[in-house]
Symmetry: C2
Subunit: 396 residues, 2 copies
């Protein structure tokens, strides 16, 4: 049969993460690899009660076809919360419910990205979105990310060179994988550059609710006066990922486009999940639940950090995150993260090298991502000791 596969699907490089995460799920492997939330944080009893309640009270509405835009009460309660807590403006913006933040990336790319548009991204960053941008024909350029977020100087130089920059992709709070958070000053600089060079900002914000140290910083979207920021949030880390409920906030003039893009992608998101999410947020103590999540991650992070400092060779640097799910190990410069991750995997510990977050997955440097959200205390103790022993062998 003649060329069967669409060009857009060719040369999508499956990242090294996939292999490691697959291995991480094998029995006997201690996994610091996948970025799943801790199941401790799932409000199981409440969700069980709500789900049967929804189906009892409101069954036809819950089971019949819904609208592409989303379940209106969930939209309203999320808008209210985002305007109060994140200073977002819903006079000029609309909110659409999507099937997880990844779908927001798919819809935004489908609606806005043309063949040969350029997307600038922090690098390393969340590579699944890189593949989505590629599928819709965009080219990618990376900009270094520092402890306080994207490197503005490097970005400015790139913007001076590059024409046709359509969008910038950023995770400004507790970036994946570095854990970096951009200050409000940096967010303002970034927005000013977007205005000057006239590009969109895709603000991916799955983690900001999980801040357990320091003061919250308002999203870039809170600065948006000309409708160029897409703000994407998710309930995956604060309720449960399998519900696949995310949301995208965008200039309301684009609503017809988001509606037709959603209709032609999956018609609408699962309605039972939308009703459950609405009822949980409206009738249970959502803020209290979120602070419980923060407490869980604060404890796990400090527990793992202390063990790492104790057991790792002193030449290995560690990030000290204020939130999110990840600790970064910085190996002695020049040492390759992939080699370290593969050696660790041989000894039964899965962690992810920065190559899994690069535009070119064959490129890597000396960063390794450790996720502290899913392993037990015992596993963390055992796993860190193995990483420590490995570090002394390699760097001692």
């Amino acid at each position: 049969m003649k060329n069967k596969i669409a060009k857009r699907m060719e040369g999508l490089k499956g990242s090294v993460i996939r292999a490691i995460v697959d291995a991480a799920n094998k029995p006997g492997i201690i996994s610091f690899a996948n970025g799943n939330p801790s199941s401790e944080t799932f409000p199981i009893k409440e969700l069980a009660a709500i789900s049967s309640q929804c189906l009892a009270d409101d069954c036809v509405k819950v089971l019949q076809y819904g609208t592409a835009h989303g379940y209106a009460p969930l939209i309203e309660i999320l808008k209210e919360r985002l305007s109060v807590k994140f200073n977002l403006d819903f006079k000029n913006n609309a909110l659409t419910i999507v099937s997880g933040a990844t779908q927001a990336c798919d819809l935004i790319s489908k609606i806005f990205l043309d063949e040969n548009d350029l997307v600038i991204t922090e690098e390393p960053s969340y590579a699944s979105c890189f593949n989505i941008f590629r599928i819709y024909g965009a080219g990618l350029k990376g900009v270094k990310i520092n402890e306080d977020g994207i490197d503005i100087n490097e970005l400015s130089i790139l913007l001076a060179q590059e024409k046709g920059v359509k969008m910038l992709y950023t995770i400004p709070s507790f970036a994946n994988p570095t854990g970096a958070t951009a200050s409000m000053e940096k967010r303002k600089e970034l927005y000013a550059l977007a205005q000057k060079h006239d590009f969109f900002i895709f603000e991916d914000d799955p983690y900001s609710e999980l801040r357990y140290h320091g003061d919250p910083v308002f999203p870039i979207k809170s600065l948006d006066i000309d409708g160029r920021v897409f703000y994407v949030g998710s309930l995956s880390k604060v309720i449960a990922p399998s519900m696949r409920i995310g949301f995208v906030v965008y200039d309301k003039s684009y609503m017809p486009l988001f509606n037709i893009a959603k209709q032609t992608t999956d018609v609408h998101s699962n309605l039972l999940a939308q009703h459950i999410a609405y009822n949980y947020i409206a009738h249970y103590n959502f803020e209290k639940h979120i602070s419980f999540c923060r407490q869980v991650y604060r404890q796990r992070c400090s527990f793992m950090s202390e063990l790492l400092r104790k057991h790792l060779h002193p030449s290995v640097e560690l990030s000290s995150p204020d939130g999110g799910l990840f600790i970064m190990m910085l190996l002695p410069s020049g040492y390759d993260s992939v080699e370290f991750a593969m050696k660790a995997l041989d000894r039964g510990v899965a962690c992810v090298p920065d190559s899994g977050f690069m535009i070119d997955p064959d490129k890597s440097s000396n960063m390794v991502r450790l996720c502290y959200s899913t392993a037990t205390q015992k596993e963390i103790e055992a796993g860190v000791k193995i990483l420590g022993a490995l570090s002394y062998e390699l760097f001692g």
Copy 2:
């Protein structure tokens, strides 16, 4: 801001259906417009029981991230059912769970359709899929559909003229909107043409379980010996649409492509819905439930058909469907379906003209689709009388 919207989204014509369906949801309007299943058929009690049971028994599995391919037990039970009832072969084929049949169309188009590929479709047919094919750059050509499915002669002539035909889109059982069902002979002719001219067949099959007269016909996929048929099914019409659970059956060599396409579209489908669907099919009497659905639609169809025959002007012809959700009215030739539908809407009855199912929505002929699944008996009686009176005014 410079050209913001991707070319793929330009010139997507919102169909006249949308306007009519929106109007149909207004209070006081009797709707024969939207193709929703009857809420009578939703197994509400069972789903409520299962949902809380799932969350009680298996909470972490149900709430944590799942795999792109789908929930394994649901995949296995669907495979078993499809091999026994529909004669599908799972030695050579894989099944992926998707978020409704529309998502199967999105994924198939994403994976296989290139700019300027040609998709041939029955016309009139389900126009949302037309828009999905367009979004991925494909051109569309229509082939007339008769009472026994696509017109093979017209198709053969088109295939002799056209190069670069990549895929044929067909709803072989109870087509939307015509209700036509292709015989096994016709399915064999269609498959032979696909082999001769080397194109894919997209077999969209949301309705075949809803046959209430005559004998079932195996899917085209049951004839597929060289992996060129994508078979798409859905639980929307036999359990509940809001669950957004569909499935696609395809040559297993494509599984890595479906996995990466699904990962980069919405990661995976809602897991609670997949667990609910599995448990309902495995532990409740699914076959009995389906025959109940058939009975509901058989009764509604004959009830509405009798009234239509009684009240409509004799120059209006009616389809006599063996299943599905729709009756077609054929207006006297030359009379325009859009004009009729708009006049009917003015009098409080919503039905859909065939222009809503055309490649060019500005084109229409004399077919009007009536859906009998959601209106009450009283509404059907009142609505048909209004259509009858209108028909006598226009054609009497």
